[in-house]
């Protein structure tokens, strides 16, 4: 059984090769910029930036559509609600109790564009960065918190172990489900209570197994001299390259553009 973790798409584009710290930090910057943008010229600018990133990352349109699917419902919902309940001045259409204003239409378009830009932007990062690299990036970005005695290394270690064990537990869940089905468990019963109850014989063995694995893994880590983050060197090193400089530069241009447009109110 093969399980894919996260939504990483293997590749070797410039975006793939960029440092995860760059990608994570700039994602935050990008999100702020998208939320700041009001005018359609501004959105045009963001669109150019995003399109550039997508082309550079060599992500096929199919996957962009895939990342949109889960939020489609939210978009439609926002659209409908705002279209009918937002109050404006310029009436475009009126029929009995339904009134649509020009302002509400503009507001809706803005909302939708923001959601779409946010989702696509974040998925470029998850599509081009392995979960392991993401963890490393998060650890590096959070490392200033060590001063506040926040266990940054331990949290990162926990995250990477969790990632490592996802396929193992997926296989195990499948096996236990099948074993209990063979003993008459019914996971697609029509009664909702019956169905909820049928998960007990899966969850308990899984939980016990997780404990057993945790204990054995702790033993194995101990035997390999693991004693927390202190005095530990790193095999995976994050290195900034020219690519990161260019990405920072392009993003700075975008930021300048978005802020200027906002200030001038174009």
């Amino acid at each position: 059984m093969t399980v894919s973790i996260g939504q990483y798409l293997p590749g070797n584009s410039v975006i793939h090769r960029a440092d995860p710290r760059t990608k994570l930090a700039l994602t935050v910057v990008y999100m702020v910029l998208v939320l700041l943008t009001r005018s359609f010229i501004g959105f045009g600018l963001v669109f150019l930036y995003l399109a550039g990133a997508l082309i550079a990352a060599r992500i096929r349109p199919k996957y962009i559509w895939n990342s949109m699917k889960p939020v489609l419902l939210i978009i439609v919902f926002t659209l409908v609600l705002n279209l009918f309940f937002y109050q404006g001045e310029t009436v475009l259409y009126h029929w009995r109790f339904i009134t649509i204003y020009l302002e509400s239409l503009i507001f809706c378009a803005r909302m939708c564009l923001r959601i779409i830009f946010l989702v696509v932007g974040v998925s470029i990062v998850t599509y081009t960065t392995t979960p392991v690299m993401l963890t490393d990036g998060i650890e590096a970005l959070l490392s200033p918190l060590k001063i506040l005695h926040f266990p940054v290394h331990e949290v990162a270690m926990m995250m990477s172990i969790a990632l490592r064990f996802i396929p193992t537990f997926a296989e195990e869940t499948d096996r236990i489900m099948k074993a209990q089905t063979a003993r008459g468990s019914d996971f697609d019963s029509k009664h909702i209570m019956e169905r909820i109850r049928s998960f007990v014989p899966i969850l308990i063995p899984l939980f016990i197994s997780a404990w057993r694995r945790a204990e054995e893994l702790a033993n194995a880590m101990n035997a390999r001299c693991y004693r927390g983050g202190e005095g530990r060197s790193r095999f995976r090193v994050l290195r900034m390259t020219k690519i990161d400089g260019i990405i920072f530069g392009v993003t700075a241009i975008l930021a300048a553009g978005v802020i200027l447009i906002r200030v001038w109110g174009v």
Binding site: P167, R183, R224, G231
Partner: protein, 621 residues
Amino acid sequence: MKQGSDAGQLNMPQIVLDKVSYTYYEAEDVDTRKGEMPVPKAVHYALEGVDLTIQKGEFVAIVGRNGSGKSTMARLMNALLLPTEGTVIVEGISTMDDEQIWEIRSRVGMVFQNPDNQIVGSSVEEDVAFGLENLGLQRDEMLTRIHWATRTVGIDDRLQAEPHTLSGGQKQRVAIAGILAMKPECIVFDEATAMLDPVGRREVMQVVRKLNRENGITIVHITHHMDEVSLCDRAVLVDHGKILADCTPRELFTRPQLVREAGLETPPVTRLFEALREAGLNVPADIITPEEAISVLVDLLKQNHTQTKQIQNVEAREEQRRARRTRYVHREGPGSLQVEHLSYTYGPGSPFEKQAIEDVSISVGDGEFLGLIGHTGCGKSTLVQHLNGLLKGDQGSVSIGGSRMEGAHIKQMRKKVGLVFQYPEYQLFESTVAKDIAFGIRKEKLSEEEMRARVEEAAQTVGLSLDVLENSIYDLSGGQKRRAAIAGVLVMKPGILVLDEPAAGLDPAGRDDILRFCTKLQKEQGITVILVSHSMEDVARLCDRILVMHQGRSVMVGTPEEIFENEQYLTEIGLAVPQMTVLFHRLRETLPEIGVSGRIFTVEDGVDEILQLLGRGGDAL
């Protein structure tokens, strides 16, 4: 942190256990809410007064049955456990010394049983790097060591691979590389081969031997597989927390009585010679490999055989032995099973698409004992899951007792096929043993007494004492848990019982117990049994017919005699033939003039054949 002078270290033993005991307590049932302190009810000795010295560069096997204390011994050696009494000294450092604990662990590495639960990294190279990171090494040094260690264990072509894409044997080799890269002086293998298939075991044992012979690493190998013991220089037999024997493997095997009492068994060739000696032949007792056995037997037969008579009688002897076995005669009934042109593909249309089985057909009679063998990944488990409708083939069909397994009555038919997965004890979940066994019949409208009777019957079948039925499942031993899980399938009274590696990880005594009641169910209750196994010995001994699978296809079906005739082909597809069969095939080839039978699978048949060839008391047997 170097200890002592180099000259002193040379003569220093690697590990010394001095009068070591390790105990644990069983707490009395007390109400802790009332503030009562748990009073120890009984003290269990996992180890009792053990003295053991392991010299540098030694290759030591510690053998014993499940629960004999051998794993406790291993964990004491690198301070994962500390002795209750006595001391453990690793290269002059006591494991009780808190300050030196990391020094000890970097010198004595440890490889554990479960391949999945000791890999930390998300790729091979990252996992090997894990220990090096803990030692605080520079990255360049790490890379050098990673390449060296992975090359030594032969996994350097999969550096970027994710752990879950590797086979069991590969994962264990990654674990070994992870330890090896830390350059320990000694590696303890704590049943590191117990969960592997024969191919994986062979891969790992080759590496282990190489580490000892070429790299001079002290090896402590904990196991209950006697064929692995014969690769070691020294064997320490442990039972009930005490050392029963400490000698060479050869000396150990010449004391079969002692080995048996400790719940283990000597290799088939050794047992053959033991039986021949009992029959009054003057053969050596210390035969431990097939090669030695062949040379002794060739000499013996050349000197003694009554040639002309025997050539004519090969078939007669084979027929005689065949007649002694109860032969299965095909019959149709509720327990018969037809698989017709079955194909199944995992994840069709996805990048992970894999055809697991292709055009498999087999007809199993009511009450037949079918063995299913094949290399790991050959589609055995996939096929087995079709037999009770857990998977539905893309093409082809499965019929039970004449009716097709499809549509709405799959759930009804599923009850007729009891499926016992590998390591079934992991699926136990109820609060008591009895409740867990009864899980499969909870929806049947049975009275409390009927329910109880069914549970007790199933428990008795698997040899589980009725006293433990009201206990928590966590109070059972490993072997008892396994039996409770199988009882949970038998309670549904299936007409067909399918077992996927039911003896995996059990010691010889535990394995025999499980296989015994499988045979009993078939013989006495006429249940059809399908046994998936990696042990050619078990399959040859127990099965009426054998289905051989390779790369998703069924490549051979036949009686053990017909199947194991094809030694070369089976070897090519990663399988083996029983050790006795290998032995007699070699004898037949070496002595073509004496008509030696090649159809020998068990020690009993081997003894019979040799004695008859020597013209001694064959008919009387």
